[in-house]
Assembly symmetry: C2
Homo-oligomer: 447 residues x 2
């Protein structure tokens, strides 16, 4: 009997919630610097048998940013801490290929994979905020296509560094005095367009071979990179048909790169506002809307469209703006929504305030489960990146009330069956490139 | 009644021990990737009321490196993990100013300080291994003086970034909807010789203001930087008079920069081989010597002298070699020792195999305590960086047998009295530069 296909769930942890006013809700605790809260959320996600938790990131700030993002713990160090207080759940974070060095990042992620016994995931981003350049002694944020070319080479280098050592390199034989098998260590000698990295990395191969690779590009270059390397794809969709077409396109691209379509999991974001009745859920949404800071909401929209919006009339239709080259998936989804529903700028701003452009689901636990099942069974999603409007209450509601329905319907696991994030996702551990070759040019020979 | 001056103790954790053959000892557990072992060592250090634990680092490797260093967990992510399994002990690691970005490193260290409630320390290094350049797309390792100029500016930028927010920025007032006080966030707008960093950092000011700053430079440029900014200075000394002169020089330089001599703690490294009798301790040293891999020992010496040594006669006197500009403190101490005791290259190699050039102490717990007390009372040290020859046994011996003697003599604390690393060291929390000024140009005004 073959296992029925089941959905994958990720918990997108933003300390103050995804709704910009979530932190003001009764019982909400605020703050992306609140480690105690984040630890509790992580444990709740694990109790809910989620595949992974996910921490977003950016390398710039301003005081009118989304309250979850303006001040935050750094995600890689936070993942390492969370590895110590969880047992099974996958641990993923965003890290930029534009503003880090492959040798450093390969070490951070590899260490997290080692310390968590194979639970690390890496959301590869090229940097959605052009302001970041000014924090890194750069005169300019590289343009879109260059950022993607850098990212593709960066990932290639990182994989090569993780392959520096073959499995079993540490022999630690006290009797003979052989600490390691030098023949299993290999220099990389990468010399590409953007990076020159000799290697080897000073670390054994991570338990998962490579951390699970996540990507969220929506542009052609982004989709191509995702098809080539991504094992999870985050997406922003409001429309099931658009989501289904996106998923088909990504899987087709993966197959084009010689990969199995089952090894690329499409996980759009959803923001669920849950009530005992539909009316109660709608009342919560209304309450959130009244609490939202309109200036912050407009700034969050401006980031997604890539344009300053302060000069536009809020009660006129959403203006026509050229693509900015940042957050393209958000921009396209929001623009399409505005056109389809003929929204004013104020209305679109309020949509973004609630879910940052992701699919907003408002209703009873059964209605939420129905909505997830519909997209999952239609092939619009392999799972969902759950973006609770506030913490901890709204996430507790999802885990306590929606997850059991999904489990009862056979759509989601009752318990973990494996130990690594790759196990949870049904992804193979990448073999070492030399696994089937006679070795030449090892460090033992070439020094 | 004023507190008598007490020494400070750091635990220098190298997974396989400091003696290159330590991992082969009975009961020794090996591996700088062995998280379970490192967690136990950290807890032992905390049981021993150590001020801090310390993780060294390098960003390159080769198979014939010291077994503790060839393959290792990345120290910043490891510190974050250790913050979750300890309560009071300080947590310090090496991070290079040559191969990281200030914005990234300020975030990693700031996060560790937040997550540990003020226990982070940063050992500022400029990179002792020229091979690192080839891992970072660089054509060359910057020369010594340039590395120190970069480091000085890097630290200035990092401090400025940690000061991005004044204390109390997060108001999180649900009633009014004010999440933060934008007037307490400030751009840095640093534009220097090596870095251009606008800021602000996306993080509240760390609990300690800045992590405790550690430095180990022995050159004139290194001492100057230490005098200016270091709060702990690691050093390599074999001779009490040289150590005393070094300590006086460093404190004099600190005073020259307007600092208190009490706010710069000189902590030379010591490697203690402890036995129930002196004969037993000496037998352990002999056993270690017999187990040492001579090729690895010569490579460890070569790193410290900054020259390939494979072509020299092992039984001739240590050759005259020009200063290499890397690991100068080690090179000077080892060269002086070789001259003073007329050592052959083989003999010096064996010294380095045991303690990597640091003070080797062999004897009973009382003898070790006497040796520490002598240096401490002579003003040659404010404390010691304890480098156990292997783990966990040799470190257990130190904590179980040497520490109680030091405590009984009133030379070391019976228990922690504070919660932060600054508390343990008696260092003030640096005030925010705007603490006493009328604010102008905040983000609220300049946006």
């Amino acid at each position: 009997m073959s296992m029925p296909r089941q959905m994958h769930l990720g918990a997108f942890i933003l300390g103050a919630g995804h709704h910009i006013a979530g932190w003001r809700m009764p019982g909400a605790e605020a703050g992306s610097e609140n480690l105690d809260l984040i630890k509790r959320i992580a444990r709740t996600a694990e109790r809910g048998k989620f595949d992974l938790l996910f921490l977003a990131d950016a390398v710039n700030t301003r005081p009118d940013m989304h309250p979850s993002m303006v001040l935050r713990l750094e995600p890689l160090t936070l993942l390492a801490a969370l590895a110590m207080v969880t047992e099974r759940i996958g641990l993923a974070a965003t890290a930029s290929t534009t503003y880090t060095e492959p040798y450093n990042l390969a070490r951070y992620l590899g260490s997290i994979d080692h310390m968590s016994n194979g639970r690390c995931g890496w959301n590869i981003v090229t940097g959605a905020f052009a302001d970041a350049a000014a924090n890194f002694s750069r005169d300019r944020h590289p343009p879109h296509d260059e950022r993607y070319a850098i990212a593709a080479e960066f990932v290639e280098v990182a994989k090569g560094l993780w392959d520096s050592c073959e499995d079993g390199i540490l022999t630690m034989d006290k009797a003979s005095g052989q600490f390691l098998d030098a023949g299993k260590m290999h220099a990389l000698n990468h010399a590409g367009t953007y990076f020159k990295v000799k290697g080897p990395l000073n670390m054994s191969r991570p338990p998962q071979g490579y951390p699970v690779l996540i990507q969220a590009g929506a542009s052609d270059a982004g989709r191509d990179l995702a098809g080539r390397i991504a094992e999870i794809v985050y997406a922003v969709h409001q429309d099931i048909e658009v989501a289904r077409a996106f998923s088909s396109d990504l899987k087709r691209r993966a197959v084009g790169f010689g990969r199995s379509p089952d090894h690329i999991k499409i996980m759009p974001g959803i923001c669920a506002i849950i009530g005992g009745t539909e009316a109660e859920a709608k009342a919560k949404l209304a309450e959130l809307g009244e609490c939202a800071d309109p200036k912050v909401a407009l700034q969050v929209l401006a980031e997604r469209l890539g344009h300053d919006l302060t000069a536009f009339d809020l009660d006129a239709p959403v203006p026509d703006l050229p693509p900015s080259g940042v957050m393209r998936g958000h921009a396209e989804t929001l623009t399409a929504l505005a056109r389809k529903e003929n929204l004013t700028l104020r209305q679109l701003r309020n949509v973004v305030a609630a879910s940052m452009g992701h699919r907003l689901m408002v209703g009873t636990p059964e209605q939420i489960a129905d909505g997830l099942q519909e997209w999952f069974e239609a092939g619009a999603a392999d799972g969902f990146n759950v973006m609770p409007p506030w913490f901890p209450g709204a996430f507790d509601d999802f885990v306590d009330h929606v997850v059991p329905i999904l489990q009862k319907r056979g759509l989601f696991r009752q318990d973990y069956t494996g130990t690594t994030l790759r196990d949870h996702l049904g992804l193979p551990r990448p073999e070492h490139p030399l696994a089937h070759r006679v070795l030449v040019g090892s460090m033992a020979a070439s020094g």
